[in-house]
């Protein structure tokens, strides 16, 4: 099964890497975004403000990580799957000798290859250009990576659930925007979550999205104790289980009732 998923991932990555020029543009785009964030915060810090005990270098690092993680977390299968449902191509995909979830997980990993390339290059270039704070320790860096990998799985099932609503609504674009909005607010993508009102933080603590950006970056800085890191990983494990079961349930429900578009 794993070999099949890898084969699909490779195929998808190969197709993505065919558009190398696109990747280059993405990297440029992300670097400009980072520059904008850095300049804004530079202006704020120049006023002599001290924000939440973060140094300017830390804030710079925060945004370099945010923007570099954005494709890794955000380039999911939502649009691909939604589009496939809308134009009926999903019909073909339901006929593969491999489960629907495995197939799309393969696609997700394929997308991750491109996103990883873009993210890592953006990160390295900006690190050189603007300077960054290094991770607290090798252990913290590894924990940072583990939490991100688990987040990718959480987001995968979250996206599967959202996309399957296209079976009923045929809406693709709206759902993509909804997903983006939810993730960018509750993950700390827009600003560190400590800048938000307390009730937003409470919701964010409950939802699994702060583990996409905010928590791993804090782990990177060494702000979380080992026990808190363990708690984070357990929380992610629970969310993965819940979303997985929910996604399967919706899929089995949908597959019985759908009339697939086209022909």
């Amino acid at each position: 099964m794993i070999r099949k998923i890898i084969a699909i991932a490779k195929q998808d990555a190969r197709e993505g890497l065919y558009y190398r020029f696109d990747l280059l543009l993405y990297i440029c785009n992300f670097m400009i975004q980072i520059a904008v964030y850095v300049f804004i915060w530079l202006a704020i810090y120049n006023q002599g403000n001290q924000i939440l005990g973060m140094s300017f270098e830390q804030v710079t690092t925060y945004y370099i990580l945010v923007v570099s993680l954005d494709p890794i977390i955000g380039w999911g299968i939502n649009e691909i799957l939604g589009e496939a449902i809308r134009d009926g191509q999903v019909l073909r995909e339901l006929l593969h000798p491999i489960s629907f979830f495995s197939y799309y997980f393969g696609i997700r990993i394929g997308e991750l290859v491109e996103a990883g390339i873009v993210g890592i290059i953006t990160f390295l270039l900006c690190a050189i250009l603007f300077g960054i704070v290094l991770p607290q320790s090798l252990f913290h860096f590894c924990a940072f990576l583990v939490v991100i990998v688990l987040s990718i799985i959480v987001i995968y099932f979250f996206e599967m659930i959202l996309s399957m609503s296209a079976f009923y609504t045929n809406s693709v674009w709206g759902i993509e925007i909804l997903k983006r909005a939810i993730i960018s607010i509750f993950s700390g993508m827009i600003a560190p979550l400590t800048l938000f009102p307390e009730w937003v933080q409470k919701i964010a603590n409950f939802l699994p999205f702060q583990e996409c950006i905010y928590t791993p970056i804090n782990i990177y800085f060494g702000e979380l104790s080992n026990i808190e890191i363990l708690q984070t990983i357990i929380k992610q494990g629970i969310w993965i289980t819940v979303l997985y079961l929910l996604a399967k349930f919706i899929f089995h429900k949908a597959i019985k009732n759908i009339t697939i578009n086209g022909g």
Binding site: Y19, G88, Q89, L91, P97, S99
Partner: protein
């Protein structure tokens, strides 16, 4: 035992009834009305291993719905489908391993990659043994003339080239059953011939069961041995292709080139047992039932009114027969 058993299969859809205009849409939003429509109505048939079956009917007759239920993509409202011992909509993935399918414009080829890459992925997904894969690829490449296409990106292929590759992809894993939903739509005559020959060859060699839906009856004439004709959700004919023609199409069309016509043949022969379809100053087109009359009889009757220069006799093809069935001109027993 039959490889496909379909018993009392029914599929009804809920169709939302929308009224026109903005107000209608808003009404629908809060108080949707549905009506039920039966797409497939109590259909039963058995298909044996190795059969080449043409599944035909007008647009909207229920063909695609039946095929989707056979592949497990739709759940029947009632009735049962068993494909090689499996219930497809319950054991979809297991069933997927033993079938192949081509659905109109849907594709299993990867748009931006060379064709061969898609084939390789299929090999991995279906776990086709290396030797078997090579053997099939070599053979398919030969029959479907894929040599120059394999290294091309799918997006650079013409429709016909793409379909040839698609067909090859579908048969690569030696499926026991293949569903082809309009595989020849929009293709030129050479490609069509190519694909038909391929289907026949593979069927002969591997005893692959093929169910073909098409609007091109040449496909049926050349490929299939058996016809299942569905109309408004019900089967109205199921049997051998040749018998179908016997039952419905015992008619012959004779075209005559004539001169010196003295009277209108249509009017003069109204009492006779044949039918004049077309009449001009220099030509006549007559249809008659071969059981009752012979060409000689026709020649005898019309030569009273004109001089026959030339004639051309033709058995009524499947296409004409179907046209008449669809128009309701032939009433079944």
């Amino acid at each position: 035992m039959a490889i496909i058993e379909v018993k009392n299969l029914v599929k009804t859809y809920k169709i939302s009834e929308k009224q026109n205009g903005m107000l209608g849409y808003i009404k629908h939003l809060f108080h949707p009305k549905y009506r039920e429509q039966t797409a497939v109505n109590n259909v039963s048939f058995n298909i044996e291993e190795g059969e080449l079956v043409g599944y035909i009917g007008e647009n909207g007759a229920g063909k695609s719905t039946t095929i989707k239920m056979l592949t497990g993509l739709l759940t029947p409202t009632s009735g049962s489908v068993i494909v090689n011992g499996l219930v497809p909509n319950e054991k979809r993935i297991q069933n997927n391993k033993q079938i192949g399918a081509v659905f109109g414009q849907k594709t299993q080829l990867w748009w931006d990659l060379p064709v061969i890459e898609s084939f390789r992925l299929i090999k991995k997904m279906y776990e086709i043994p290396e030797g078997e894969y090579r053997k099939n690829l070599k053979k398919f490449t030969e029959i479907l003339q894929l040599e120059e296409l394999l290294d091309k990106q799918v997006k650079n292929l013409s429709l016909g080239q793409k379909m040839r590759c698609e067909i090859a992809a579908t048969f690569l894993h030696n499926p026991k059953i293949v569903y082809l939903d309009e595989p020849t739509i929009g293709l030129d005559i050479l490609v069509k011939d190519n694909i038909r020959k391929f289907i026949k060859d593979i069927n002969k060699e591997k005893k692959t069961t093929v169910i073909l839906t098409t609007h091109d009856l040449k496909d049926i004439e050349e490929v299939c041995d058996r016809i299942i004709l569905i109309d408004k959700g019900s089967i109205i004919y199921d049997g051998e292709k040749e018998k179908f023609k016997d039952i419905y199409g015992n008619k012959i069309i004779a075209e005559f080139v004539v001169k010196n016509k003295t009277k209108s043949v249509t009017l003069e022969t109204q009492e006779e047992d044949f039918e004049v379809i077309e009449e001009t100053e220099n030509s006549l087109k007559i249809r008659f039932n071969h059981d009752k009359l012979t060409v000689i009889n026709i020649v005898d009757s019309i030569s009273k009114y004109c001089e026959i220069l030339d004639m051309h006799v033709q058995e009524q093809g499947l296409e004409e027969i179907l046209k008449e069935i669809y128009r309701g001109e032939i009433i079944r027993d």
